[in-house]
């Protein structure tokens, strides 16, 4: 028996696709259905040297355990910004064949395949490998995941539905994830009636789980290309940072500020010994020195004593904060349970799995 398949597509990044994929995987399993996971095109720019696969695929492969290899789950890697260096549009049918082979391998061994789409529904349209192309090829039902911060995000949801339908794809429904309670109300009041008119099912919406969005120290190190000065990488890599504070103001004021927030990372120039010393007296989680200004040894000794990790970064503070603000935090192994709860509590499972 060939399995049925569901492709999770999103209107933009940060839609919670991976959360849904992991949660739904566990839910299927719980119901005695043998699920498979498949990510046709991984993001080569997120490859970690150790596992040689896309980050999303790497977390899911821990869930899927040893059933399939990472290469089977994610057969192709492309760099989203420079994919035209890697493949010619002419080659796309060949590539689709390769993807199909990998898909068939998983589909023939499972009851249902959860396909995780590209970063957004437009991605790789230029080489005819967009989610719509993939969905059509595997005859997969499309579920659109969309973070909703305002009406313009809803405009995009309807446009995405139109584009999938234009290419004869079946829309299984949408998952609208409101960023706050005002938007929850807008979904009920405005979006839902309009979706009914267009014959689009609302499957539910993920609740915002702040901790899922907090970056780990490992993610921060990678994003700013920093060097760990104190702290043992293996021990601290998975610690989460909830708040960033720039130590630009004079010491006393800065300390007051730091004390008010939990899991703080302080960013300051390596020559601001005053700020750094005071910060080390507070329960901060991380200290970043910018401008490639290596602080004096006595300061690092103190950081070691207090067991506060410190990082040295080469850029100026403004560009370092930019990099920190752009981190897309990935799901960590210990967060898998949250994914399950999201699906269990917030999605209409019958509609999802129909």
């Amino acid at each position: 028996m060939t399995s049925k398949s569901i492709i999770l597509s999103s209107t933009k990044r940060g839609s919670g696709k991976s959360v849904v994929a992991i949660g739904a995987y566990l839910k299927f399993k719980e119901n005695g259905i043998n699920p498979g996971y498949f990510k046709p095109i991984g993001d080569s720019s997120t490859i970690k040297p150790k596992n040689l696969t896309d980050k999303d695929a790497s977390v899911i492969s821990a869930v899927v355990a040893r059933k399939f290899s990472q290469e089977q789950l994610c057969p192709l890697l492309l760099n989203p910004k420079f994919f035209l260096d890697e493949i010619l549009p002419k080659e796309s049918s060949e590539i689709l064949e390769k993807i199909t082979d990998a898909y068939d391998f998983i589909a023939s061994r499972t009851d249902v395949v959860l396909i995780e789409g590209n970063h957004d529904y437009r991605q790789y349209a230029a080489v005819e490998l967009s989610d719509a192309h993939i969905a059509k090829n595997f005859n997969a039902k499309v579920i659109i995941c969309a973070p909703i911060a305002g009406d313009s995000d809803f405009d995009d949801v309807l446009a995405a539905v139109k584009i999938f339908r234009m290419q004869q794809c079946e829309i299984g429904g949408v998952i609208l994830s409101p960023v706050n309670s005002t938007l929850e109300n807008r979904i009920q009041k405005y979006y839902l009636p309009m979706m009914r008119n267009s014959n689009i099912a609302l499957i539910g919406g993920l609740k915002s789980v702040k901790t899922l969005e907090f970056p780990t120290i490992a993610e921060i190190l990678e994003a700013i290309d920093g060097k760990l000065l104190t702290g043992e990488f293996v021990k601290i890599k998975n610690r989460k940072i909830a708040n960033f504070v720039i130590g630009a103001m004079h010491s006393n004021k800065a300390i007051e500020y730091i004390k008010r927030k939990p899991n703080v990372c302080v960013i300051t120039g390596g020559d601001r010994i005053d700020i750094a010393l005071n910060a080390l007296e507070t329960p901060i989680s991380l200290l970043i020195f910018t401008g490639n200004l290596r602080p004096e040894t006595s300061l690092l000794k103190k950081a070691e004593e207090k067991q506060i990790p410190t990082i040295l970064a080469a850029g100026d503070t403004f560009s370092i904060t930019e990099k920190l603000q752009n981190i897309h935090s990935d799901i960590q192994l210990d967060e898998i349970e949250i994914c399950y709860e999201q699906v269990e509590q917030n999605l209409d499972w019958e509609e999802f799995s129909r």
């Binding site: 139109k162 800065a254 500020y257 403004f318």
Partner: protein, 354 residues
């Protein structure tokens, strides 16, 4: 017969206004009687004094006194919260109002340039999108797209497919190269790929970086920071070339401060050392964060040098985040740049019969 050209964009930052203003001026030089129309303005950028949105405000200075701002842009919506202002069933009245305004201008000119919404998907749920107006106005479409890397090309293909499937006549695309690297990729890959799929590349905007520099007024708008000293009328249109966070010691700061011209320095109000060092270099603006006022000496030096000072209660990290979200608008002094930019476009082609 006159031509109506609608500029529609894949996302904001496409350079629609640059093309609209430049095209308007070029056609006028050739003796043509041109009209400009923007069906729906952005209520969020609506200015109290001029009672119109920022784009329209600039173009109306180009169009001079031929038409009033209300004629050029008859309607306003808030992109993120428009559904409480207008439900799908009310759309007809608004459509009619906009169509009447359009005819009023069209009857008096040879050709019309119509500036579409922020993106091709905007306001589609209530039938006030670019697709609706292009059909009503019998307009040919030019897709404007910002290009940073290959990913932006996906949006061009998606947008083109969306528009042509709704039976619109798409003349081609104007690519707005956002960097030197983007220019190279456009030449190396994008143009050929688009042409090979019958999407005509009308040209590309280049080096519009200068147009993207925010003004002092735009920085104040985005951050909500208050003017502490300085003459608003004199400084509001000054362009900011770069942003620097003064988090390091004064000595290390000096190197960075010297290396950046026309900069805005963000620092704590108690960092007198940084402020004075900044005022000694090419600085256009200083923002003091953390609700701390600068000392009188800093104020007097700033006044002497004509550098405005702002204060805000927000912390430095938050301010840097707000600054990154600034959307800049064309300034009246930048109109010539727009005119020069359209020399990169095949404008003959636009007015031909298709």
């Amino acid at each position: 017969m006159g031509k109506n050209i609608m500029l529609t964009s894949t996302k904001s930052g496409a350079g629609k206004s640059v093309v609209a203003i430049g095209l308007y001026l070029k056609m006028k030089e050739q003796g043509k009687n041109m009209g400009y129309f923007k069906p729906i303005g952005d209520a969020m950028t609506q200015q109290e004094k001029s009672r119109t949105d920022k784009d329209v405000s600039v173009i109306s200075s180009v169009v001079a006194r031929k038409f009033s701002k209300e004629e050029i842009c008859p309607y306003f919506l808030n992109p993120e919260f428009y559904l409480e202002e207008i439900l799908p069933e009310d759309a007809r009245e608004i459509q009619q109002q906009i169509k009447d305004s359009f005819s009023n201008i069209q009857n008096k000119v040879d050709h019309m340039i119509i500036e579409g919404n922020h993106s091709f998907t905007q306001y589609a749920p209530v039938n006030l999108d670019d697709v609706y107006f292009a059909k009503e106005f019998n307009a040919d479409i030019v897709i404007c797209a910002p290009i940073e890397d290959d990913d932006d090309l996906n949006a061009v293909f998606t947008c083109h497919q969306y528009l042509t499937s709704q039976k619109l006549n798409v003349l081609g695309v104007v690519l707005n190269a956002r960097s030197k690297m983007a220019e190279i990729r456009i030449k190396k890959y994008h143009t050929d790929l688009l042409e090979s799929r019958d999407i005509h590349v009308i040209g590309s905007l280049q080096n519009v970086r200068d147009l993207e520099k925010p003004t002092v007024a735009e920085v104040m708008d985005a951050t909500g920071a208050k003017l502490y000293s300085g003459d608003f009328l004199k400084v509001k249109n000054n362009l900011i070339g770069s942003f620097i966070i003064g988090a390091m010691g004064a000595e290390a700061a000096l190197k960075i401060l010297r290396a950046n011209v026309d900069k805005c320095v963000i620092t704590g109000g108690d960092r007198t050392d940084i402020a004075l060092a900044a005022l000694d270099t090419s600085t256009k603006l200083i923002i003091f964060t953390g609700n701390m006022e600068p000392v009188p000496r800093v104020v007097s030096v700033a006044q002497e040098k004509g550098v405005p000072l702002l204060t805000t209660s927000a912390d430095t990290f938050t301010v840097s985040e707000q600054i990154r979200r600034i959307k800049t608008h064309i300034q009246p002094s930048e109109i010539q740049i727009c005119r020069d930019q359209v020399e990169n476009l095949d404008t003959e082609f636009l007015l031909k019969e298709h």
